[in-house]
Symmetry: C2
Subunit: 431 residues, 2 copies
């Protein structure tokens, strides 16, 4: 059973702090291993990449078979059931259309003294997309990572996906085709990250790498950061559901379990103003668990990291708790969800009202499902077009504007002890 | 003397690659030391912070003297020369006014099927600002880091600055007062980063830490990343000046030296279409070097990392080279700088025309001087208001919209093997 916290009890603050501080993921110490792999691929290129793939994925490749051919991608697409293709296409269309609105606008203006200032946004030239193998090889994630890059104008998306004993998930290939991924390579792990960062004879280097992966992939991304850009390092998924007693307990229980089934380290928290409703949801979770294919995973997550929190006044007490939890996913299932949302600041994504299960956002809502975990919504945001563009700031002075601003720049350069700075302005003003 | 590269020579590509790959900074291996410091401050709070400050900064503090008092800040401000205060105030006003335009807009809209989607931006609650001690303790950097946070709406900015033997740069305190910094602590190094990330009895924890620092500070920032957000890890500064022969060699030489005087690891590169102009600039650099207070630093940087690159056609040959260099600062000193800028994609900041020395951007232009170094302008941007806000994505479905989207979500959940995901939608549709 998950733990029950009640805000009215004297030990609440201590227990809430424990909930916040609970470490849900053991961090494997793979740094040294990964360092060797990265160095080998950087030095030996394709040869090292192929050797590691043989060793870790039991797959023999040559430079000629590293890349997944057009025919194989086409065949995977053609073999996909029509209803699946239709769902993927709907998801793609909605994700693209929503992300189109995220394109930042250039800005250029002249101020009163004749200085032109501005910002110009351009797309990152090339992006590497990591897709995990095995059970966590999700076609939806291919769309969520590739579409914002495409919308941003990235010219080249190179995808890597490990193929254990040669097996690739055909749905991942189909999703890549729908999303317009340009190149696919059947490699994974730290070796694939190193290949994307430094390039090999077969795989041209990229400027930024995105996508989820295991501890080796995460460590490799940290190590190549600087040489290339990386996205956030994602932790286990989590949901906070704020629900009043007017909800159907079965609906809310289903939402909590949808999160819990992801991973034993996932976390599902219910925050309500009704102890009876909390009881009813817990009972519904038990009933539903019996019928789930991933019951063992979901139960482990729910029992170890699940929680129900009872407060007496949702509008007053829920917002500060929600802000401290800073959940990746926040569901607000009340009659007036805006009232609560208006008072909550930290959440990766919010799902408002009784008819918006978080799962819609995982697939077809149009918003992105790559979101900040582990309380990082306090300072970071979900994946968007902004992750695939960068800004050049612009300054242009007329001779007159330089005369107006120059003396202040010279003064500050002098007090900072930077003579050459001062001179670079003074020489133009004959000072 | 800096090296001279000529695009017409057969070894040009190899030499240009060497220039790109040159490692300008030795990365000190301080990780283990920093790990101990961070752990001690996390565990022992103020006591550890005070002990490290005694040891590293030769300064004895108590919990009561960690924080710089209002009177001390006020006195520093009052003791600042009027012309310096005026220059700082002008810089502050221009930085604030430019950054106001960077505030992202919320977006909320209903699509054709009745799904509401959107993005809401909110400020990061609290920010830690690291300011280096000693010679690199720049008041201008206080403004550049604090103002975007203030404009974003950050409620609390806590600044840390090491005070070797008790000495603080009064201009840094004055700049902090002008920028509206809320708290100042006289601590630095990895111990100050740990205090900001985990909090102590005296220093409340922050959600994000920004600001430049030495290898210990950079390593500490990497280590606490995840617990808090961090800004980019800045490397040595660099400038690429694209200049035709119609420039005054003295002006361009001054610009190259303004960059070189920062740091022995700084890099100044001239790209021109005239070997004679390159000669003239090099000669001017030599003349000016003789008169600089930081001549030794500037010469070391210029001799070891400086370069002049000669091409035959600026418009055709400069853009691809500039994109590969992806310079932090790009000056385009030609008659038609827009023509070149329109073809260049990677640069942290651009300074257009003959009257826009990069130094103006360091101080009073209004744009930010915290910019991506070491070729990271290929995938990242300078500091802006966006670094101090985060986005919550919004989804709200009507019952009808859920009916329209639900079946596709259920289909994708099924093919991904996530039963509870499918159920969370199906239970609401009585499927």
């Amino acid at each position: 059973m998950p733990q029950r916290l009640n805000a009215a009890e004297p030990d609440f603050e201590a227990r809430f702090r424990d909930l916040l501080g609970a470490k849900r993921e053991a961090s494997a110490d793979v740094e040294a291993t990964v360092r060797d792999i990265v160095a080998a691929v950087r030095h030996d290129g394709d040869a090292a990449l192929i050797a590691y793939t043989e060793r870790f994925d039991q797959l023999s490749l040559t430079p000629g078979t590293l890349r997944v051919g057009e025919a194989e991608i086409e065949a995977a697409h053609a073999a996909t059931a029509p209803e699946t293709l239709e769902a993927l296409t709907l998801a793609h269309r909605r994700i693209a259309s929503h992300h189109e609105r995220q394109r930042p606008r250039d800005d250029r203006y002249e101020d009163a003294i004749g200085a032109v200032l501005g910002s110009r946004w351009t797309a990152v030239e090339s992006v590497g997309l990591y897709v995990p193998g095995g059970a966590a090889s999700y076609p939806s994630s291919v769309l969520m990572n590739a579409v914002p890059a495409k919308v941003a104008g990235v010219e080249r998306i190179a995808m890597v996906v490990p193929a254990m004993r040669g097996a690739l998930n055909p749905l991942v290939l189909a999703a890549a085709r729908i999303a317009g991924v340009d190149e696919i390579y059947r490699v994974g792990g730290a070796q694939a990250i190193a290949a994307l960062a430094y390039g090999t004879a077969t795989i041209a280097p990229v400027a930024k790498i995105v996508g989820p992966g295991n501890a080796y992939v995460a460590s490799a991304k940290r190590q190549v950061f600087g040489t290339v850009g990386i996205d956030m390092i994602a932790g286990p998924s989590e949901v906070l559901v704020i629900a009043d007693a007017d909800n159907d307990p079965d609906w809310i229980a289903a939402d909590l379990l949808a999160q819990a089934e992801h991973d034993r380290s996932a976390q599902s928290i219910l925050l309500t103003d009704s102890p009876a409703f909390a009881d009813a949801v817990e009972a519904a979770v038990e009933r539903q668990l019996a019928r789930l294919s991933r019951a063992e995973t979901a139960r482990a997550s729910w029992d170890e990291f699940g929680a129900t929190i009872v407060v007496s006044d949702l509008l007053r007490e829920a917002p500060p708790l929600a802000d401290r939890l800073a959940a990746e996913h926040l569901e607000i299932a009340t009659a007036d969800p805006e009232a609560l949302f208006g008072r909550i600041r930290n959440a990766g994504a919010v799902f408002l009202g009784r008819h918006t299960p978080e799962v819609i956002g995982d697939y077809v809502g149009g918003s992105n499902h790559v979101l900040p975990t582990a309380r990082s919504a306090r300072f970071s945001s979900g994946l968007s077009v902004l992750d695939f563009v960068k800004r050049t700031s612009i300054l242009q002075l007329s001779a007159g504007a330089l005369r107006a601003l120059g003396p202040a720049a010279i003064e500050l350069a002098h007090v900072e002890g930077l003579d050459a700075h001062a001179r670079s302005v003074a020489v133009r003003l004959n000072l």
